[in-house]
Amino acid sequence: MTTHSFALPIIIFTTFWGLIGLAGPWFVPKGPNRGVIITMLMATAVCCYLFWLIAILAQLNPLFGPQLKNETIWYVRFLWE
């Protein structure tokens, strides 16, 4: 029965992927593969953040709710006190 906030996950995940995608490249050691590793970090951050963002935005304002069988509702109400 916990109300999920919207702002908190946004802040957490944006900072997380932002650190990986924007701050991470500065810490990659110099070497022949530096460019590739930086590309990989940024691409990973963008892809994963975008995917997570789509998932949470899609559930922000649901226009319809889940349809449950009456058996399920019984089970939940009367078995699990």
């Binding site: 996950p9 935005l57 899609a58 559930q59 889940p66 939940v76 109400r77």
Partner: protein, 861 residues
């Protein structure tokens, strides 16, 4: 950016190799593997080239090597791998190697011939002894008399009656067992009444000299009378290829012969042993010589083939070669040439020359990036110095695969399998495995690793683990609140099999699930106890958890996944168009930035970027209070193109119609810009350069050269780096034709492809939705039909557990076969298609060729 961003700079070098040192120089270059030789003698046939004789000799040597290898293999010995680095031997050594090899081959042939002859002889002797030893029972003629008889009794009373001249003769021999019956039949038919034949199997098996297999021979003893019969019998036995041996009547004589034979065979066996010893000695020598020789001769032949591609300079003092070499490797090349030609008085030199041909593409990869580069190269090797899609593919390919495959459990299995391969990659057993399917999987181990990793992530977001949802956080939907506020009594519930939670009711929807899709497990802390103990349906007594997915779960998921596919698709394609910017900047085609990239971006983002905007706007701003009258994006989008409106569809925001009309008009206006912009600009430039007075050669700027060479259809194929431009003499290219129709045609095709492609490619990304749906459903079905059956069983713990083991075995096998292998391959293929077609056709030409340096490396493995 690392060297994977675009191809390295590759230049054409001209090598001057003094004749004396040419072989050594090329051999050294082969060891280093730096340059790709160009064939300067293309017009010359293979027989007329300079070093054909040497190549012939090498090939003959190779034939001898093959023969020796065959002999070693037949003897059951293995060839040890060559140790150390073996450079190509100088030409004068070829003669020595040839002589040695010939000698060994001849010796081997002789010894083997002798060996074979001895064995055949031994076989004969053994057969003879077997025949003599064979006891064929009492002499056949004695069977006619009743009562006991002894060998001493003459067969017929002598000199009695008219048949006194008849004498019994014997023929003894051996025949192959399968022919024995036929022989017996034929003898009976031909000579019956005049002979008595007795066939017996030999006591021991003898080794056949040719095949080495043990064979049981049939020995026979034929007693006959009459000369003609004797001749007939001889002819028949000749036909059947039998061995005939003299058979003496007296026992003692036979004994004597037998002893002689045994003595002879013993001597022969000793000689045979000696011969075998010598044979193994020779084979040992071959074993030592062969591995080195093979490598050396192979390298020598490769060097001569490369030398054949060089042309001879007019003074016949040196060979001239042209080769492609990476600019980075030029110092190493020059050093190698200096070192190899230090013995000869003159040193070999290399210097750069300009070329009109497109250089080969060289992208250096390590074992991690190699598999991704090979995926890109499978579609087409990039043109020289165009942007390489591979570094982005390292992440986007596993990501798009994971979007279609998303399941934590399956992703974890794939990840662990790939991890096992990666950790074991240095073991020699793993590397030298010959199985092709294993080699394919092993070559893509890093690919599988990343694919598995991303699948675990998307599996968490989809909230699927072997099709079961996990509740990391409590669900955001409360059944209790709905039940309480809607008055769901038991009677009400029994009349309505399906009920929907309405998010409009306060307390039912408690916020979006923070990480992924809500598992929809109704909250546990629901009801202030009503206490009625109801008779619950029978399945409630089973001890498994209820993951109660709503029956309309798919309605929500489909909407979510479709919109996700469109958003990811538009993003991916816009990224592709942006990558084209790097190409235009590098090849100094700034006009294409304004006349192609800009219209393309406006078209794509104005139409499909706007669609993405609509989707996100609706997610953010249309709350549940307006759920009944929620606007439909699809109808808005269709009306946008048709310039019409539906009265029942509410606008999303004020001024929406104006904005949409403006965007469509803008996008349509971009089409003629895209179609005519570049051709008109190029035409204008060409006309300007034609009419303007020609300045001195050195002052023509590079753009002019570029303009002339971008005339033909594949524009930037010819636009390589500016260094090459400076080196070229511009005077020769002034007469390049600007064929307006060709340029227009090319641009028209490009425009149509892009505009129509925008729509079809965006729709193509919907396969992300389709495949992820298929995977989720297959996974669900497998669980429901297989595993749940096992988990639902009621009964004795022992029986149930055994059945559960079998059920789990079936579940595991089908998971791996159907969901991992089949679905994995399917998602792999579709992700590949999305990259090759939808992403790469925005910026990638892929019509180049790879730099394949002259190297001996292949045979060293």
């Amino acid at each position: 950016m690392g060297s994977m961003f675009r191809s390295e700079e590759v230049v054409l070098v001209q090598l001057f190799l003094p004749t004396a040192a040419a072989y050594a120089c090329v051999s050294q270059l082969g060891e280093l593997g730096l340059v790709e030789f160009r064939d300067l003698n293309e017009s010359v046939s293979a027989f007329q080239r300079r070093f054909t004789v040497d190549i012939r000799r090498c090939e003959e040597l190779e034939k001898t090597f093959t023969f020796l290898e065959e002999q070693v293999r037949r003897a059951g010995l293995a060839l040890p791998p060559p140790e150390g680095r073996l450079p190509a031997p100088p030409p004068r050594d070829l003669l020595r190697i040839q002589e040695e090899t010939e000698r060994l081959a001849q010796e081997l042939r002789d010894v083997q011939g002798n060996h074979q002859a001895l064995r055949t002889q031994l076989h004969q002797l053994q057969l003879h002894s077997a025949v003599l030893q064979q006891n064929h029972g009492p002499p056949p003629a004695a069977a006619h008399t009743d009562g006991p008889s002894s060998e001493r009794t003459p067969l017929l009373p002598p000199r009695q009656g008219p048949h006194q001249d008849l004498r019994v003769n014997f023929v003894a021999g051996a025949v192959e067992p399968r022919k024995a019956a036929a022989l017996e039949r034929l003898l009976w038919r031909a000579c019956r009444g005049f002979l008595i034949a007795s066939f017996r199997e030999a006591d021991r098996q003898l080794e056949d000299p040719l095949t080495g297999e043990p064979v049981t021979w049939m020995t026979f003893l034929i007693s006959y009378w009459g000369e003609q019969i004797g001749q007939k019998i001889r002819k028949i036995t000749d036909c059947f290829h039998c061995y005939i041996f003299p058979f003496l009547e007296e026992e003692a004589a036979r004994h004597g012969t037998l002893q002689q034979l045994q003595q002879q065979s013993q001597e022969l066996q000793e000689v045979l042993r000696e011969t075998e010893g010598f044979l193994s000695q020779v084979l040992g020598q071959v074993q030592q010589l062969l591995p080195r020789g093979l490598v050396q001769v192979h390298k020598m032949k490769a060097v001569y083939l490369a030398l054949n591609q060089c042309s001879v300079s007019s003074t016949h003092k040196c060979l001239v070669a042209e080769a492609w070499c990476a600019t980075q490797d030029l110092p190493a090349l020059q050093q190698a040439l200096r070192e190899s030609s230090s013995e000869a008085g003159v040193s070999a030199v290399a210097h750069r020359i300009s070329s009109r041909d497109m250089p080969p593409t060289l992208i250096r990869t390590n074992r991690f990036t190699a598999s991704f580069q090979s995926i890109v190269d499978a579609y087409g090797v990039g043109c020289y110095q165009e942007v390489n899609p591979a570094p982005y593919t390292i992440i986007t390919f596993p990501f798009l695969f994971a979007v279609m495959f998303g399941d934590v459990g399956h992703g974890l299995l794939m990840f662990l399998f790939a991890l096992a391969m990666v950790l074991a990659e240095n073991r020699p057993a793993v590397r030298t495995a010959q199985n092709e399917i294993w080699q394919t999987f092993f070559g893509g181990r890093y690919l599988l690793l990343l694919m598995g990793l991303f699948s675990i992530y998307t599996g968490f977001i989809y909230n699927e683990c072997f099709s079961r949802a996990t509740t990391i956080f409590p669900s955001g939907w409360s059944v209790a609140a709905m039940a309480n506020q809607s008055g769901w009594s038991d009677a009400f519930l029994s009349h309505h099999p399906l009920l929907t939670l309405d998010p409009n009711v306060t307390g039912v929807f408690l916020g979006p699930y923070p990480f992924g899709i809500d598992p929809l497990v109704p909250s546990l802390f629901c009801v202030p106890g009503t206490g009625d103990s109801q008779h619950l349906p029978g399945w409630a007594c089973h001890h498994h958890q209820v993951w109660s997915l709503a029956t309309n779960h798919l309605s929500f998921l489909n909407s979510f996944k479709m919109k996700m596919s469109v958003i990811l698709g538009v993003t991916h394609m816009a990224f592709g168009v942006l990558l084209g910017v790097f190409n235009h900047v590098h090849f100094r085609q700034g006009h294409r930035l304004l006349l192609e990239t800009m219209p393309e971006l406006i078209f794509l983002l104005g139409l499909f970027g706007y669609l993405v905007f609509l989707v996100i706007y609706k997610w953010l701003c249309v709350t549940v209070t307006h759920a009944a009258s929620a606007p439909s994006i699809l109808i808005h989008f269709i009306n946008m193109f048709l310039f019409s409106s539906s009265p029942t569809n509410q606008p999303l925001y004020s001024g929406q119609e104006v904005v949409q009309h403006a965007l469509v008009v803008l996008a349509l206006a971009m089409v003629p810009v895209l179609l005519l912009g570049t051709p008109l600009y190029l035409l204008h430039r060409w006309q300007r350069s034609r009419h303007s007075p020609r300045p001195a050669v050195g002052q023509q700027d590079n753009n002019e050269d570029k303009a002339r060479c971008v005339d033909s259809s594949d524009a930037y194929e010819k636009g390589w780096s500016s260094d090459e431009e400076k080196a070229r003499c511009p005077g020769g290219e002034e007469e390049a034709e600007f064929v307006a129709s060709e340029v227009l045609m090319h641009q028209a095709i490009h425009t149509i492809e892009f505009c129509l492609g925008c729509i079809s490619n965006t729709a193509s990304y919907l396969r992300l939705w389709a495949l992820s749906l298929a995977h989720a459903q297959l996974s669900e079905v497998l669980w429901a039909m297989v595993m749940r059956v096992g988990l639902r069983m009621c009964g004795e713990v022992g029986v149930v557990s055994v059945v559960l083991v079998l059920v789990f075995a079936a579940f595991a096998v089908m998971t791996v076969a159907i969901l991992l292998v089949m679905e994995g391959l399917s998602a792999f293929l579709h992700a590949l298609r999305l990259h090759w077609v939808e992403f790469q056709n925005k910026f990638y030409a892929g019509t180049g060729y790879k730099l394949s340096p002259f190297t001996f490396a292949i045979q060293d493995e």
